[in-house]
Amino acid sequence: MAFALHMRNGRKRGGRPGVAPPPVSQMLSTISSSAVLVLLCAGACLVQACYLGRINNKPTVQIHVPGEHFARGQTVEVTATGKDPDNDSVHWAWYVIPGPCAATLDPTALPSSRQQLMFDFVVPLDASTSCVWVMVTDVDGASDTASATISTVNRPPTAVISVSKPSGTNQFGRYDLYSRFDLSSVGSSDADGDAIVKRTWTPSFPPTAGALVPCSTTPPADQEVCFDAGNVPGDYVVSLVLNDGTDDSAPAQVRLTVDPDHPPCISDTDPLLIASPIVVDPAADETFKVQGVLDDGSPYPAPTDGRPYVPISFAWSMRRNGGAWVDLTGFDQLNKATLAGGSSLSGDVVDVRVTVSDGVAFHPTASCDAMCPTGCPTTATWTVRYR
């Protein structure tokens, strides 16, 4: 940089700082070579009286801005380059004037920075235009200015959809039937800090699915939306477009795939099936329990989080000594059945069987919950040896 080199070289000639050069000097101000200046001066002396003092040349400056429109709050690195023909030391001053650049710098303006070569301009947060001036002044008071207009531009908000409920997907990365969804836009943002004035949610649901509705009437009611997949599987696509009062965001989209009904499985029993055949005193009561059923709509125990629930049904039966199976009627809502003491004899072998059903006759997918035992068992059978 010319100014930087000059500063390193230091001052090479005498002169009176702050004294304006004579007219001849001004005429010759574009001549930069000292040798030529001396020759011309000598020649002039032959004709008339000659001024032998210092001829100052004013510095020049150019401003450089990496663009014209910038985001609010953004820091813009404004740079300047310039020369002082005399290699004089110069003073820098940067000014920020609201509005478009005028023809001249307001002489009453106060500088924002006296940093050399570069100025970090923080774009105002409001939508506005600013003018950045740079002025260099040499030791003799000669100066030059340059300016650049910097305008703000609105950045559209960024829409983000997050699934608040359910808390996660199933093992297939999808959602179970009967899920209730709570979609939130709270993760959205606006780089300019603008308030979101409108959220436009657009559902694309299977034909018989329910509607997308605000989760709450508390403003802003459109911040979170809910829908109930009910018993309709398929792809639920929801788009979100935000508006910050000026621009729309690019649409955000989520695709929520709701599985068809999964078959239930018996996940836990008491006694454990691995303990079978069980040895039991004929005089003792023996109770058989299904302690856990994993299912999308009919788990056991019943969910306590308020989600839709249809009680699982149990079909109990038993047989004695290899005879025919006999249904235990009335136990279809009960997860346990008891064989009373005294109802069997030593040597009897009794099988007790239970089959669970979620009420869905046909499951198009064989997949069940990942926590289910191998084979997704819907039936549990215990064998009791009375001894």
Binding site: Q291, A302, T304, Q333, A340, L345, S346
Partner: protein, 614 residues
């Protein structure tokens, strides 16, 4: 670990619950009252330990917090350890059900806040300091209903197979005081391998295992195989009575009062032959084949043996004194079975190192035939109603004891409804005809005295079902409740389900002259808790039950943590049982509430509210 004994009512109840939450739930001494929950002690910046203790200001003790309209609780956050670089305080509070409670700063100090305590229940107060969420504190405060009744329940926690062992805890709740933020830390227990081997060959042998906690009702069952590796059972702390019943001709074994550590260090369970008990089963015609003979001393059986053609048997048992049972399918009287039991006193002594003798003599009897005409589609069960005393004698050590005997059987009529059972001992019988339960016919019983020979056919007129009716209270909330009348007469498993109508009224069609227990199961969206109505007998004309008050549901929420006290225990079955000692407990084996913990170990239950004293 048991909950502390019931203290006086009033403000001390608060202390009780707080104590329950911590002392009951944390065998490892980990604070579980949330005084500086696990999210509170993690430290601020890397490597820096920092937490906030939440201390009472007004009232001066958390034990004396009483809910009332306008009542407020003032607390102070006490920051320990190096604070985060920027100190800012963020307070929050929730009621037991998770609803937010407003927290307001008192004065200029952000560490001093207060919140309204306007209803009984638990309040969870949380604070974060520094804005990073890493220097925090949490406190669960219970404002007990001063008029609340106390009730104890047995909680059973059954984690998934990879988790901690199934275990029970007794916990106490206060009527009218919903609580959240309860933290239960599970006992790690011990994994005990069971390797059952034949003591003679040293080879693995299959066996059924049942471990019973004599102090409670916890039963852990398993089975070893002859080919597989030892079975590993997860056991909580405590002692267990261990019953081992081998599949083969090896004597079962009972190991009382064993601690898991004892079992784990005992090595393979070597199962010997036991002591032999030899004898014969005879009747007037000579040897009896096909009779089953077994001994039983409490929960410990012998091997089960079936006599061969010569009537001889040899069974094996551990040394001791036993009752003896013989069962014999009566020849020519299928499906009738004779059962006779020699009671444990005087019983049969099985000496160690000797051979016990036991001869069983089935006396002669006159045969009779049971002839019935019943509806097609029914089942007919019969059992001798008069003891067939003197029919069977047990001879041991030179002494003969006459045993109580009975004959029972079950048969399905042939196509025309005819039932014929020949070859029965002439005696009195109780016949029970079980119809298709979906019809209007009731289970019908009749007494039949069978004289020797061929008795005339008797047509059984089925009784109609009768009404079991009543009202559940409070009537405003008792409509649409599922209920099931479970037949507990004992001869066959049977149940009848229904639903309450408006105002909680119900009427079920049941069979007369039978005993029932009524299970009442409100759905999760109803404000009532499950309950069981104690067994009652329905007479010939039916039964109108007195109004049955269904308890309100009382929220009990919290988190189950594994033995580390740091991690939630997900997918853990939480069951709550009433205690048999409680007057209101009609069925200590049926959960009054149950749920499964979420992925973070949290759970929410609706217990029967013990109510408040007016």
């Amino acid at each position: 670990m048991r909950a502390p004994a019931a203290p006086l009512l009033g403000a001390a109840l608060c202390a009780l619950v707080a104590a329950c939450a911590s002392s009951t739930a944390s065998p490892g001494g980990v604070p579980t009252d949330g005084s500086a929950g696990r999210d509170g002690g993690g430290g601020g910046d890397a490597g820096v330990t920092c937490q906030v203790n939440i201390l009472p200001v007004l009232p001066i003790s958390f034990d004396t917090v009483v809910a009332a309209p306008g009542a407020r609780l003032r607390v102070q956050g006490d920051l320990t350890g190096p604070p985060p670089s920027s100190v800012s305080w963020t307070w929050s509070a929730t009621f037991a059900d998770g609803t937010p409670v407003a927290v307001t700063q008192v004065g200029a100090a952000p560490s001093l806040v207060e919140l309204p305590i306007d209803r009984p229940g638990s309040y969870t107060i949380a604070v974060e300091v520094g804005g990073l969420g890493r220097c925090a504190g949490r406190r669960n405060v219970v404002a007990a209903n001063p008029k609340g009744n106390l009730a104890s329940y047995r909680f059973r926690f059954t984690p998934p197979p990879s988790g901690d062992p199934t275990q029970d805890r007794d916990m106490q709740v206060i009527g009218g005081t919903p609580t959240g933020g309860n933290v239960i830390v599970l006992d790690q227990g011990m994994v005990v391998p069971f390797d059952t081997r034949d003591a003679t060959t040293g080879q693995p042998t299959a066996a059924y295992l049942r471990l019973t906690d004599p102090a409670g009702s916890l039963v852990v069952e398993g089975r070893t195989t002859a080919a597989g590796p030892p079975v590993k059972l997860r056991l909580p702390s405590g002692t267990f009575d261990v019953l081992v019943v081998p599949d083969g001709d090896l004597a079962p074994l009972l190991l009382p009062g064993k601690r898991p550590a004892d079992l784990a260090g005992a090595g393979p369970l070597m199962l010997g032959k036991g002591e032999p008990v030899a004898g014969r089963v005879l009747n007037g015609a000579g040897p009896v084949a096909g009779a089953n003979v077994v001994l039983r001393a409490g929960t410990l059986p012998s091997t089960l043996v079936t006599t061969k053609g010569d009537g001889a048997f040899t069974l094996h048992a551990a040394a001791g004194t036993y009752a003896a049972t013989v069962t014999w399918p009566l020849p020519g009287s299928s499906p009738s079975t004779l059962e006779a039991v020699l009671p444990p006193a005087p019983g049969l002594g099985v000496p160690s190192g000797g051979v016990a003798g036991l001869d069983i003599q089935i006396g002669s009897y006159e045969t009779a035939s049971l002839n019935l005409l019943v509806n097609v589609g029914t089942r007919v069960m019969f059992e001798s109603s008069s003891s067939l005393d003197g029919l069977v004698g047990f001879t041991a050590g030179g002494q003969t004891s006459q045993a109580a005997a009975r004959v029972r059987g079950e048969v399905v009529p042939i196509g025309d409804g005819t039932v014929t059972v020949p070859g029965l001992p002439a005696a009195s019988y109780r016949v029970t005809v079980v119809p298709d339960p979906s019809g209007s016919d009731a289970i019908t019983g009749l007494d039949v005295a069978l004289a020797a020979g061929n008795n005339p056919r008797r047509t059984v007129a089925m009784s109609p079902k009768v009404s079991l009716s009543g009202n559940l209270l409070p009537s405003a909330d008792a409509a649409g409740i599922l209920l099931t009348a479970v037949d507990v007469t004992g001869d066959l498993p049977l149940a009848i389900s229904g639903m309450t109508a408006a105002q909680g009224m119900f009427a079920l069609a049941v069979s007369p002259a039978r005993s029932y227990m009524l299970r009442v199961r409100p759905s999760p969206d109803q404000p009532l808790a499950p309950t069981v109505v104690a067994p009652f007998v329905v007479g010939a004309g039916g039964l109108a039950l007195a109004n049955q008050k269904v308890p309100l549901a009382l929220l009990y929420a919290g988190e189950v943590r594994d033995h580390s006290a740091q991690n939630g225990s997900p997918a853990t079955l939480v069951q709550v049982f009433c205690l048999a000692s409680a007057a209101s407990c009609a069925d200590p084996d049926t959960p009054v509430a149950e749920t499964v913990t979420a992925s973070d170990g949290s759970f929410s239950l609706r217990l029967p509210d013990p109510g408040v004293t007016p």
